[in-house]
Assembly symmetry: none
Amino acid sequence: MPGGCQDETSRLVFGYARAVPDPNRRSERSRAAILAATLDLLHESGYADLTVEKIAARAGVGKQTIYRWWSGRGAVVLDALVDQIGPAGPPALPDTGDLEADLRLVVRAIVAELADPRLSVTTRALTIETLTSETFAETMRDRLLRPQLDTIKERLRGRVRDDVDLDQAVELLIGPMYHRWMMRTGPLTEAYADGIVDLALAALRPH
Amino acid sequence: MPGGCQDETSRLVFGYARAVPDPNRRSERSRAAILAATLDLLHESGYADLTVEKIAARAGVGKQTIYRWWSGRGAVVLDALVDQIGPAGPPALPDTGDLEADLRLVVRAIVAELADPRLSVTTRALTIETLTSETFAETMRDRLLRPQLDTIKERLRGRVRDDVDLDQAVELLIGPMYHRWMMRTGPLTEAYADGIVDLALAALRPH
Amino acid sequence: MPGGCQDETSRLVFGYARAVPDPNRRSERSRAAILAATLDLLHESGYADLTVEKIAARAGVGKQTIYRWWSGRGAVVLDALVDQIGPAGPPALPDTGDLEADLRLVVRAIVAELADPRLSVTTRALTIETLTSETFAETMRDRLLRPQLDTIKERLRGRVRDDVDLDQAVELLIGPMYHRWMMRTGPLTEAYADGIVDLALAALRPH
Amino acid sequence: MPGGCQDETSRLVFGYARAVPDPNRRSERSRAAILAATLDLLHESGYADLTVEKIAARAGVGKQTIYRWWSGRGAVVLDALVDQIGPAGPPALPDTGDLEADLRLVVRAIVAELADPRLSVTTRALTIETLTSETFAETMRDRLLRPQLDTIKERLRGRVRDDVDLDQAVELLIGPMYHRWMMRTGPLTEAYADGIVDLALAALRPH
DNA sequence: TGGTAAGCGAGACGGTACGTCCAGTCTTTGT
DNA sequence: ACAAAGACTGGACGTACCGTCTCGCTTACCA
């Protein structure tokens, strides 16, 4: 970025310069311990019992170190999840040319994750936080959800009836699963996943 | 109930007495004040700021009166909502014979409710509680959600492809809306509602 | 007190009525446990290590119960001391007719108390608090110090040169001891106590 | 010091190295800034609000620079005071030959200092620290108090009844003032100072 | 119709967690 | 090697609520 020197230490030129901690001095050891402790506690006793104080104690860290880098437990859980799935993001959606087979794969994967209490506990936590805080909802949506939805959206592009809105199409696929998961209105099985794919494709397929 | 003498006020089981409050003596005045205060506070500052203590103070009621009749703030919000929409339940789904028109009506109504911050704040609260407590989730599902879904389910029965599972069909209609609402992935408008109905019917209609 | 009805629950008629806890409902058990724990901790590790949190933990009491009835650790220590010496106040100064003998008695008693680390730790704590907080200083002075000084003052009245200010006379007797105690400028012994009495009487005695 | 080579920067004793900072390399600029900031803050908001962190921030200095050269805020205040009154120590007690006049001068000066909130705030801080820490008390006594008391002591030597202990004599003069100042038992005025001198001399004067 | 027992308001209680501040140590980056 | 800067662990602060409890008061039911 030639000529575009961005001063890292004070980003606000106008307005009040909130003292922002220097990320270069951040302790990687503490960061990792906090995220690990968070996942541990989440698996042991769920989000309702997860407190900043317990995270700090389990991680062997001062509370301030958490508050220095995160705004609250929700933000920590989000980072813990992002850290867990790795910087590469979610596994890429394969493109075999067979749309139905590909979708079956992703939908099954999502259903499996939601059905597994150990895996879905983070999703549950993040959903609660999303419903609680508007600003968190936006972070969550942009950092985690949008990329995932966009992948599916691109896969659908050009292969569905050209009068459908792709965002609606993706939600047609995704929404029912999350609804069933949250509301516990029925079992989350592979058969269910396949049923959703069938229905969605019936709605979306050209002809 | 011949032979089965069930004392309402104290169920003695093997010597342990769990005192159950007598609903006949319940103060209707307090009940109403609590539910009204709950909705007020919910509208003023949201579920995260809603506490049993504030409800009691606003309602001019002792905390114990709340804990006597409800298990926590979630249960109070649920009752407040039920009380608000009236004992008759949600407005009956009309049956004009035109399935598409009828569905358009319900779906539009739901979208409108979710889009209105004043109305959706209770739904938001109940969803959070649903994600937090398994037992609450079941109460919520059975008392509030199931009747609503069943209404739609019955309307669909016999008018859709006979190889589709009706529960899945209902969720195909409902799930996308809730997903968009929770995750703030797009606008909740009438056009969106109609789009969902179109897609769902394309998936479900015979042929 | 005829006609002078004093409402106990709200003492402020003008200005803001600070919610004052109801002393009738106060738990005597907790009060006693707090004061005992305070003295214990004070003897174990001194005032610098005394924290409200530790008092609460040791007393098996919530922190709020301390903050409800006291303004801070200083106030608790003051009450602990008052509670310890009993509602009767300090032991009455005997009046044998022999001024010198009587004074020798009190001054020796005070010196002995200051010389004993176990007894003087409370005095030390209260003195620190007195130097720290102006309002505490006034409470301390009026509740604890003034009565003690006045006792001596009354004993001196009429028996000393009639041109001396009695307040100064008392301080002439008391001040040197406290100075030596605080500043550790010399030993606090009976001989010292007697020396002080001799000097003071030499200054005060008629002729 | 033949044979006793003492390395100033690191005293190695049986393998344990306790790094001692080299006073030659000490930054005079930082030292002065720290002492000035300390007095500023003390005057602004008192000793209870004085923290090492605030001193460092105000002085534009790292916290470590304070901890390197002082043991805590008490030691800094002590140095600040010593620095303020200058290396020459307190103004010398004049010797006019008239003992009463000379004493009146010192006692009035001390009373004036204690009565002035701006001046006495440091004395207050040092007294608190003296009561808090035994080792500080000794430093304080030897560095600040003893010289002052000894000056008076020497002035009294040979001019008072020869059966009185001079240390007690000095404290008879000094103690009452400090007591009144700390306990706020009365006004600190010139008249009071003179009264103390009168009483003390009545006790001490030969015959 | 007076006694008893419930619900009620009020709010103190033992606790847990909050988010902030500071102590005192450690580490990084100049200079 | 000292200094500035400031992140770190740890601990206490004073506050807010939790869910339980106890206190008088009012109110309904029963004897």
